[in-house]
Homo-oligomer: 445 residues x 2
Amino acid sequence: MVKNCMELENFFNPRTIAVIGASHSKEKVGHDIFYNLLKEKKRVYAVNPNATSILGEPSFASVLDIKAEIDLAIIAIPAKLVPKVIEECGQKAVKAVIIISSGFSEAGNKALEKEVIETAQKHNIRILGPNCLGVIVPRINMNASFFSKTPEKGGITFISQSGALGVAMLDWAIKHQLGLSAFVSMGNAGDVDFADMIKYFEKDADTKAICLYMESLKDGRKFLEATKDCKKPIIVLKAGRTEGGQKAAATHTAALATEDRVYDGAFRQYRLIRVNTLYQLFEIAQYFVYGHAPKGKRGLIVTNAGGPGVLASDGFEREGIEIVKIDEAKEELNKVLPQQWSKSNPVDIVGDATPDRYKAVFDVLKNKKFFDFVLCILTPQAMTEPKDVAELFVKFYRETGVPCFGCFMGGDSISTAKRILRDNHITNFVEPDYAAKVISKMVKK
Amino acid sequence: MVKNCMELENFFNPRTIAVIGASHSKEKVGHDIFYNLLKEKKRVYAVNPNATSILGEPSFASVLDIKAEIDLAIIAIPAKLVPKVIEECGQKAVKAVIIISSGFSEAGNKALEKEVIETAQKHNIRILGPNCLGVIVPRINMNASFFSKTPEKGGITFISQSGALGVAMLDWAIKHQLGLSAFVSMGNAGDVDFADMIKYFEKDADTKAICLYMESLKDGRKFLEATKDCKKPIIVLKAGRTEGGQKAAATHTAALATEDRVYDGAFRQYRLIRVNTLYQLFEIAQYFVYGHAPKGKRGLIVTNAGGPGVLASDGFEREGIEIVKIDEAKEELNKVLPQQWSKSNPVDIVGDATPDRYKAVFDVLKNKKFFDFVLCILTPQAMTEPKDVAELFVKFYRETGVPCFGCFMGGDSISTAKRILRDNHITNFVEPDYAAKVISKMVKK
């Protein structure tokens, strides 16, 4: 059963933090964690019996020597020393502990991990990890991890079972200015698990979508219980789909191989969105952050190029998206479009389409309700003004609230247009096939 | 039957060019084509009866007024005037004509197109188009199209049935510094078709791989005859896979819907590589340009992160790539790797792997033959030096000639490493799943 999730607040908004194993040696993760927290001016205490000061701050021999109350302790010391330190945290009434140290169940030392968790439970301490990277909360500028950078604040909470993969995705998110509400590295999930996190972030006002990278679940029932009532979209990349992947996962996290179809069925039942790729994870989540995922599967395509229209139709049909009939708009479109237009969906407005022609279509569509979303395709031809078309599409999106997606294709010719779309929360897909793949994940549940 | 393909030389390496419909009005494509050719200092003549000079060059009333022999004429005038002009080209003994003008079979005017082609055949003129964008040959700086930019020279020939899609891809290629040997816009393919082009580019020394974007084939038998003996890799994106896509294609190019499985079977029989996405088209072609596509399906994965290793294994298995057993190297790897390494494929050398640890693995693999390619995965962790690992991987690739692929994941932390890989012709994939998708296309034939 999921315990009181508000206990977890100490992981994500602590008043005071102790870094046990803080270090002045740049080789040690204890250095990086302490440095990250100091840099962002958290109320943080160094604990290291072998130093009197670290990075200009006093160092305490034990957490017990700190006068202030400690909400969160972060432990980065050799595994075998962890039980004693947890006991001290218990005496100090620390409420939450992140164990960064590795050398526990993932390395075959299950007994040591059990001892640590039992000691923590005795003292009502919640544990994140062991064998994890830490936690980052951009909104309050808290980087309680040994990753050196903090992403922008935003609406996506990303919870990763793999620390390394978490780092790669953080680095990518920062480069692409993707905003996160929180990053959590789960590690071995000896105590706090995905279910606890989902319950917590369901109530977190900043989180609009929850992304999970998962290799295994210890308690599937608890997980499903947590997800079934969750009102926020949960997008999950579950690795180990195939036998080969499961073998690799077993080596990696000693995860028990569960038949993938069990996961698949459960995810489907509880309306989780399952994706196959890391970037889809964030791309779909971002759309929920923007708040305009399509409510149905009737798609309308507007394009100035036949080829990409064909590719979009292929993609839509393959992914189960309806290429909606446009009878309701045909007559009006006939009046505003040149004779060569396609007269069907995709609405091909032909290669010499000016922004005015796109506008004429948007104006006709403005008061129609026969579609659930619009995919606007553009290729940079002689008469095309990508920037102007982007602005018109944004205007249509704002006035109607209809879920809108872009597929502006090309290189430098469309870079300004792409920025305009992004700044106005319209996702632009690199090509029609990919648009269909991603949109279908939002639509089919 | 494919005619003498060397006739086509006049499209791709003409000594003299006439632009019929050259214009000083920037609104007209005849302006852009003439400007592009002048800019790159081709021997080019303007033909326009309504002007005496265009962009500082003399303008001729008819191609017949030009004294020099004309190898190639490019026609950009209203469709109904084209037959007369083709007749003049015949009298002038022009050898090849690109008809940019639209308004032929794609607009329902089949008779007009037939008349044009028959007139050309009477005079032994080969026609590209009508309703096309033109031709670009970067090596000789010839941009005989109305697209304003010329990509870098390279080994990929890209032949597109859709002009708009061609433009979008050219724009993208330029942005990503992808080199092309030629770009050809097929248009309606009234005379010269995919088969003729394949026969020509098979003999073109600069072309290492041929990419096709295809919506329909008029003469399937001729196409297969041309491809079956082609020694160069042909990668094809055939749109209209689904019924929805075929409907859209019928509207777009009036293409006859042929059952997609007929194409699929034929492509398979003649070892064409069929892809679903535009970027795969170029990504796979580029690898053939580099000359190191895997010869078999035995894949070896080296990684510093378990999670991406699992994802790669999932992808490999799903796509039919063998995750090869590493018995032959296990003992040697045991000697050089820390105790926690995975002891199986993926060779997980653990998160704290330094460049030296990658090097130790590459040194063991150097003299082994039990795999057909190596996928090197890297996530930017505390001890990782992406740049150094990239250099070591390049060294391994150079010394062994083994097909090598990268999957260095992240943002700015890996940008230098990615550049090093690219500069040394190792493709870096954005994530493991995508690596598996693309590699499998090269391997499975």
